[in-house]
Assembly symmetry: D2
Homo-oligomer: 455 residues x 4
């Protein structure tokens, strides 16, 4: 079927190949979101008299039908359709005739794709937040369970001072909770309705942007229509940046697990179900999940950089360049969420080797404690430091389990204050849950059934 | 003078050169912040009996003295000092003897540099927010002043539909307001007190972390001591990411100004004071500010990527790698703030050529309007689109000034709703101002005078 | 069918999903290369007595069969196969039994994928070089055809001094010729045989690495078996870096064409067949190819960065991380080659508007010439510069066509020396052609027919 | 003193601050190169009658004088000078009057900075190549010395198959030799004379570009004058890319050393002189050099990306953006060369713990060998693999020292063929040495003494 902009000349074949790209493949992720947004747009068009009631009914029925097909993987976007928007409009026109031709009234593919992306991203981010909260939960559980198990604290990866599994796991829980604050800010910026901006400059029709925004459970209309367009790509890069920040935290956790589960360390043991084998070496059990997580953090970072490199220094208004941001954006989402899930699974299944941990405290690990004991008895720190340095061969021996109680104040191994993290986690769970519920409710009102947008 | 960790062997000269790096140069930016944090730390040490009152007084007096010297550029950090922390401690010990040796009690250079960086960053971010708000102000003023001046709206940089200078400038104001939401989230995450975490694992002394946090006007203690250390570098990358997002917006504004002030467009004219000349071509007036802004946006992005590449996949606890994040972090801040200032200056000085703008409306720009006029009279959009496409040579002529009023709803050229942006801007100004005031008050209480940390 | 490393426990489902990734999709690009390498490996195994002649014949026949299927898109790699290597080995074992089980003797999937990637990359690079040479050809033709058509030379995008279309197009031809020097260096490094390195440490069998290398038309064996493995990912990043360098040149050409074909400039006119339309604005003709080229240059750069970020700071020997380099590597190749093709097509179809170009010479463009005329009569340059600066309103008028002949020496608009570029191009064509021919001949000897590896 | 382009209006102060940047600091690196290029330019001007013999003599004398001052760090470029080119011209005019004003005849700051950068880069690359060759030498020496010391070969960082220190070190030597091939290609592209291109379009004077090129020991004139300008920034990015490729190799070596010198591995021991201490923990010896090397590899990568991001998608001819490429370029060079030097130093000083290495061979490491023994006796590989997998608890025990001789063919631990690397290294040394010598000779002819350009 025809392109939406079909003219009376033929596009060069190479140019066609070049410009269509993978949109027809990527867009299967956006079909449901596009249909949902189209239903809201149609309801609004009817409310201002640009669609007849019967036309609206026909459109809604057929759009729901497409959603059902898409959920079963049966709505096919062909290369000649260019993208999901064209495929859907062509389908509607084929089935409904006149009404199908009217659905594009008052919008452009520009705000249409923006609406689909915003809905899709919002749903993704709700899932992502949930998964991060699950990971935090597993970290807190691990920290509580292994609260008093000593672990050598390291700096420069060299044994430095006493630490504990509780401190170790708790550190990541708290960091992820802060990361969520960033994710939420990005969520808020995304949660605005772009519809009505059309091709960047609005349309001379009395559209009701507030109605559409409300039907789609957006928090508000994104006001300036040119800003709407200008945020294409940049919104995606904000989301990817926020994912990357979460993954930076996860990458550190992952790096620790990788090192500490090497046989040479032996603090942790990865269960078989997380490992794969070798095609040539019969004995191998390889921590592939951990290695791939390490790599995928870089992949997601690469996608984020790609999007930013594309949008940087572009003029305002729609530019075709933004199509090229779709692939890195959509392709980054699944690995990002998987990395979080793999980390959660690993924390849940990780076996701790307490004996090895207890045996890993060399005398030098208590050197600072000895110096500070001297400080407590009045010696200036620098002098105590010197004295201990000169006697490294005759250090006092402390008990590892006792030693982690030596630091008395909050935030230390002896006084984790895990309840701070627990309370915050619980607050986030409520907030994210409430957002999700409200959105699901509104979208169910609009479509008549529960829809899954992030697919 | 000696390094803080001096031992009885000599570091290889090449290794010394390699490891010292530029810290002794970069750290002049951090001297004041480090002194302020040291005063709070000393006050706390005295409160728990680890410093005598007289020692505290001596330390505070001398630390204030260093601040004064630093503000005049007279506190010199030499290469052999390694960094500002060593230079300051050495200075204190030289002047005060015993008391100087005690200042390092209960902390490590690790949490010391974190504290200095957090204070420095916080002050920077308050400045940065202020500058972004100034740019928003200039955009709103420009939008209001030129509200009804028509401008061809473009997509693919080709003339598309009627737009206005008001819509154009307003778009950037709204986008920056959303960007500020992200910046604020990062500000909040940064505004936590790292002190007490020492070398990542705390110290076995009854430190009062809450007191230090309060004295330094942090919002709260950053609890888990290992998390504190793990956030090194990552916090910097969050800040740089947020700057990059603001600069992406600025880069688009800048790109538009660059194109529209080319003589071939002539919409805008850059005043002489923003241009430079050529060493060989007598006639040249070059928009260097705009070109450098375009480049510096990439530079800041490069610095952000550098920091993330360094911290990705590192194990937890302090790693020396984090030293290498200091240069890209500190070096990104001035260009970031300058880009915003140059954009503001440009918006203030930009000369608008209304005649050229009015002459830039070709008949085709009204094609969509004509199609939608047909829609209003009942024709399906796709048919109207086709009909107009077939009659491109006989388009109706509309008046540019009237045409921008054609889109009736909020957010469009005819109905900008600038008051939304104005109100938000005013809210941000109040919030940022209140933060700044409270911090300045607390720091003045601590030091006895007004201190500037971002230098 | 079973994984090559199947053990008696089940991999966690999420881990399986995570680790398999898209290899089963990406690997369809590598099937032919893998089969070709497998034929050579089998021939070698037979030569050292590890395969019977009849087993070799069976394997070769079936591997050729797979090649035929793959060329028709009929060799399917299923998700459960993990990758093409497993799918092929499973297929061989199903068809041939015992012999199929023997093909993996003396190799690992590690050197197997390396061999496939090297063959695939080599074929790609031969194609890429050919396409770059075609673009150079089109630039030289354009430069010759429009040799004496004046064009304002710009600095800071402001009109600066007289230039010509010949100088403009010739500049890109010469730059691409230099870029090819880099591409060739990378081609050489890639053109080494990795087989025999197995899982990084060789195998205790008397393999004949030289024979395999020779059969596959590699220039030589890549000697150290651990180096072979260590070059995984890094080789890919070298290739991508070299592509990026070519694309940086193309991006500049593209940027010029974009600007100069804007109606406000009008120097060039893009033919319809290179433009697309809008779904809402009937009049639009958008230069989508040019915009996408601009974006895709960033995409390829992003892929290159992704690969480098993954391989940086990894330990030696095989790491699973390298799997994650496959997608960015393979996905970058088609856009890279398309960008070059689109640029070539654009150069071929570009319409030049000579009248507009002639009208675009403002008097100031001759200011330097006037200053240098004074220099020729003995005035110091700085004084001449000053004198002309003070008389910018009364500049002498020169003829544009004459003016481009004013610079007399080689490399300037008046003396392009295009023959230098022509000769170099011709040398490259011969060298690339000879490489290609030799390889095709050897591979045809091995397989019995002509094979296309880059698919 | 005045800017070279001084006009009768004042640049805005903020714009001035923004545009001058750090050039006046960075340019101290370029002063000598600029003077050398200026001498050649002056000699040529005299040869075509645009300078009197006496003027030439004055200029040469004074330029040599500036070189001497610069070498002692006494030639100061002040902020108001903008850059070294202005400082030098101003100095010449002050001392020589008329002749000083003539030196800029026939050139622009654009080709002047290009010439200085090319000379500077060339000298840097000769140094860099020398340092890489030194590292290769140390690797080959290490490989020979420890040729037969066994080391567990790893995949996925898990013990896999027998390897040796010889194989390990040899791998990096061979990889670096291949990297040098890339570096040399970039060296060649850089080694072209840009002078005569002026502000991108040449000048209407009968300059003798070949003479200048020859005097400066460039291999040839870079022909097309617009190409010359278009290569600004891109040349730098090519150089940085090539450095990054070398550093990727070094980073892998460094990662191995880091892991294997952890006490938990204990294969290697870093000598004290390569380690630093802690300000709080008396016992610490930290491998700071290795950690910083790991980080600096990312820094250099960041600088490379920065340059590419700046030059991507810029129009042709000079753009002010290119100034912003100077800092990342120049700042990357010293760390790049230092990383190589630190790696060389580490290889030279590394202590090997042979006992630990011998004790690190668990029985499973011989599993593949056992499977292949079965293969040798006729069992298909897959069956042997299965059989060994089922008997992992009863593996045969092999001797580590013997086991590394098991792989018989070239490139394996038992048959390193180090002479291949040695011969290549020796060829490179000769080639690089010859390049260096010829250049030094020609520059000494020009200036009358030996000059160091990379400072």
């Amino acid at each position: 079927m025809a392109k939406l902009w079909q003219k009376n000349y033929e596009l060069n074949e190479l140019v066609e190949e070049f410009t269509v790209g993978d949109d027809f493949l990527l867009d299967r992720h956006l079909v449901v979101s596009d249909c949902v947004a189209s239903i809201a747009h149609a309801v609004m068009l009817e409310s201002i008299g640009l669609l007849k009631k019967s036309e609206l009914q026909g459109l809604v029925k057929e759009l729901k039908n497409i959603i059902k097909l898409a959920e079963k993987g049966q709505f096919v976007i062909e290369k000649k359709d260019e993208d999901c928007h064209t495929a859907i409009e062509n389908h509607l026109t084929q089935v409904l005739g006149e009404a199908g031709k009217k659905i594009h009234t008052g919008r452009s593919r520009n705000d249409q794709v923006l609406a689909a992306l915003r809905l899709y991203s919002r749903d993704f981010m709700l899932h992502f937040q949930k998964n991060v909260l699950n990971l935090i939960e597993s970290l807190i559980v691990f920290a509580k369970t292994n609260k008093n198990i000593p672990m050598p604290g390291r700096t420069h990866m060299q044994v430095a001072m006493p630490s504990s599994l509780g401190l170790w796991a708790g550190a990541f829980a708290e960091q992820l909770l802060d990361d969520l604050h960033l994710v939420q800010a990005v969520y808020d910026i995304n949660n605005q309705s772009p519809l009505g901006s059309a091709a960047s400059y609005g349309v001379p029709l009395p559209l009701n942007r507030e109605l559409v925004s409300d039907l789609l459970a957006f928090k508000k209309v994104q006001n300036n229509v040119l800003y709407v367009q200008n945020s294409r790509g940049k919104m995606e890069s904000m989301i990817l940046d926020s994912l990357e920040q979460v993954l930076l935290t996860v990458s550190k956790l992952n790096c620790d697990i990788f090192l500490y589960s090497l046989p040479e360390f032996g603090y942790f043991c990865l269960p078989d179900e997380l490992c794969t084998g070798s095609s040539i070496m019969p004995q191998k059990k390889n921590p592939d999940g951990i290695e791939l997580l390490r790599a995928k953090v870089s992949s997601v970072a690469g996608y984020a950089a790609q999007v930013k490199n594309i949008v940087r220094n572009l003029p305002s208004g729609y530019n075709r360049d933004s199509q090229e941001t779709k692939a890195p954006f959509i392709k980054a989402l699944v690995p990002a969420i998987q990395c979080v899930q793999i980390a959660e699974l690993t924390m849940e299944k990780l076996k701790v080797n307490e004996t090895v941990l207890l045996d890993s405290f060399p005398p030098e690990i208590f050197a600072t404690q000895e110096a500070l004991d001297l400080v407590k008895s009045g010696m200036p720190f620098r002098d105590a430091y010197k004295k201990v340095t000169e006697n490294l061969d005759n250090l006092k021996k402390y008990d590892p389990v006792e030693s982690i109680k030596a630091v008395p104040y909050s935030g230390s191994a002896g006084n984790l204050k895990l309840e701070l993290a627990e309370n915050k986690k619980s607050d986030w769970e409520k907030a994210v849950g409430a957002n999700r519920e409200e959105i699901e409710k509104k979208l169910a009102q609009l479509t008549g059934f529960e829809v899954r947008l992030f697919i």
